[in-house]
């Protein structure tokens, strides 16, 4: 294939936040599991016992909260732009979501044209930040349990657990759909590479966006 035109899908800032959150999530997940259940005792030595896991969990919890805040302070406009994009829902998005299960199992469907981020990605754009917010909030209450009323501490545990479980469940889908699902390779290398995708891929998967960037043919 001849050298093809490539267009920018994910900005450097977005990629950095996504990357660091990916790392944080996995470290927090593993160190958290050590505390969640005795099933994960074998993980303890990796983190230097439970005390080590505790400490690492807290350090990365701070990073987890700091990263999006730094992004927000440095690039408030691109954050708002992203949220605006994600909030744009129309017929094409709803149709995409309804047809998605078929595509998921491998039945060929013709998807309605999508923006720079498709309906599923729009969903995630809200899902993960909301989950992350409640994890951070409940974690904060658990960390400083003595400073909060008892009912809040009691509530923090189920909230923390529901959120990380829902988040990790969705993450399984997200990780697979963003990498090994047919047609996703390009987007994967956009997020974990230089942020760019082939124009012909964009035209096929994100038609509306392609037309905005490259004009209608």
């Amino acid at each position: 294939m001849a050298e093809e035109k490539r267009i920018l899908k994910c900005s450097t800032g977005a990629r950095m936040v996504h990357w660091s959150h990916t790392i944080c999530w996995f470290i927090l997940l593993l160190t958290g599991l050590v505390m969640f259940s005795g099933w994960f005792d074998w993980l303890k030595p990796v983190f230097g016992g439970t005390n080590g896991a505790n400490l690492i969990h807290r350090i990365f919890a701070l990073v987890f909260v700091a990263v999006p805040l730094i992004g927000l302070v440095l690039k408030p406009r691109s954050f708002i732009g992203w949220m605006k994009e994600a909030a744009k829902w129309g017929k094409d998005e709803i149709k995409f979501m309804m047809m998605f299960p078929l595509d998921f199992i491998g039945i060929k469907v013709h998807m309605p044209p999508q923006d720079r981020i498709n309906a599923g990605q729009k969903f995630n754009s809200f899902f993960f930040p909301i989950i992350g917010f409640f994890i951070a909030l409940s974690g904060f209450v658990m960390w400083f349990a003595e400073s909060f009323p008892l009912w809040m501490v009691r509530l923090a545990y189920p909230v923390h657990d529901i959120c990380w479980i829902l988040g990790t469940a969705q993450l399984c889908f997200h990780a697979y759909l963003g990498s090994l699902h047919p047609g996703s390779g390009e987007a994967f290398w956009a997020m974990f590479g230089d942020g760019k995708v082939r124009a012909s891929w964009a035209k096929h998967h994100h038609t509306k966006w392609y037309e905005q960037v490259c004009g209608k043919e």
Partner: protein, 266 residues
């Protein structure tokens, strides 16, 4: 459950000498802590990571004179301990005699037991990064000794024995008191599903700083019965779904043109 043992705290016999508090410290080798005078005779303000029992003082003015209500506080050794159920490390267990004990090596200091306990007993010790509480001196009673606090009590306000016998005794005592103290009652028979530590109170529990009917919070039972056992399966489900899709998409597209002229990995 088989016969369980505990002790009876007869608050009407307690003179707040705090011998039990000192004995507990000594036996468990717990360091002394600095306290400050805050206007009450209660010298030790609260349970801490280094204090497993205290005598709480409650002062009321009744009929023109000061009345004191003393209550020994420590783990109640519940018949169905919530702290044990929620502990993610299974660090808390019940001994043959019904004492609720905590294994220091297994405890990771997550403090969930403290939040779950309806009596708000376990306390965090930041130095050791462990949660602490009274063990009913299980190591002593296993050897046929009395709990240190019971042994130290000089007035007979503390009595160790079989729960059912102590309960009968407590009821009898309340019957004798009821003439002079119409609100006298037994505490611990039914509270939080029943406890191995029983109290004879001369007045309503509230006067001793006890909750009338401590309940296990629904946030705790929901976590315990629904979230922890079932929710993690969601992760397995989405992971399995993704693996399924990985294969089904590839099988269904065999020989067909994948994604309109694109290669499969497009």
């Amino acid at each position: 459950m088989a016969k369980t043992k505990g002790y009876l705290v007869d608050t009407t016999k307690c003179i707040a000498c705090r011998g039990c508090v000192v004995a507990c410290k000594q036996w468990n080798q717990l360091p002394a802590e600095q306290t400050r005078f805050t206007g009450s005779y209660q010298t030790v303000p609260d349970l801490t990571g280094n204090t497993f029992t205290i005598i709480s003082f409650h002062e009321y003015e009744e009929d023109g004179r000061i009345r004191w209500y003393f209550a020994k506080r420590q783990c109640m050794h519940c018949l169905e301990p919530v702290c044990m159920k929620v502990c993610p490390q299974k660090a808390i267990s019940i001994t043959d005699t019904g004492a609720v004990v905590r294994d220091n090596d297994k405890c990771v200091g997550c403090q969930y037991c403290a939040a779950a306990c309806p009596f708000h007993i376990p306390r965090y010790n930041p130095t050791t990064d462990k949660e602490t509480k009274c063990s009913l001196c299980a190591e002593r009673t296993a050897e046929g000794d009395l709990p240190a606090c019971v042994k130290a009590c000089i007035t007979g306000a503390l009595e160790y024995g079989n729960r059912d016998e102590l309960l009968a005794k407590a009821k009898e005592r309340v019957n004798n008191l009821i003439g002079d103290y119409p609100n006298a009652n037994v505490y611990g028979e039914t509270q939080a599903g029943g406890t191995n530590i029983l109290y004879v109170l001369a007045d309503v529990p509230g006067k001793y700083g006890f909750e009338e009917d401590p309940k296990v919070s629904t946030a705790i039972t929901a976590w315990q019965n629904v979230i922890k056992p079932y929710f993690p399966w969601l992760i397995a489900l989405t992971a399995a779904g993704s693996i399924f899709s990985f294969f089904s998409t590839r099988l269904l597209k065999v020989g067909k043109e994948a994604h309109e002229g694109e290669s499969l990995h497009g």
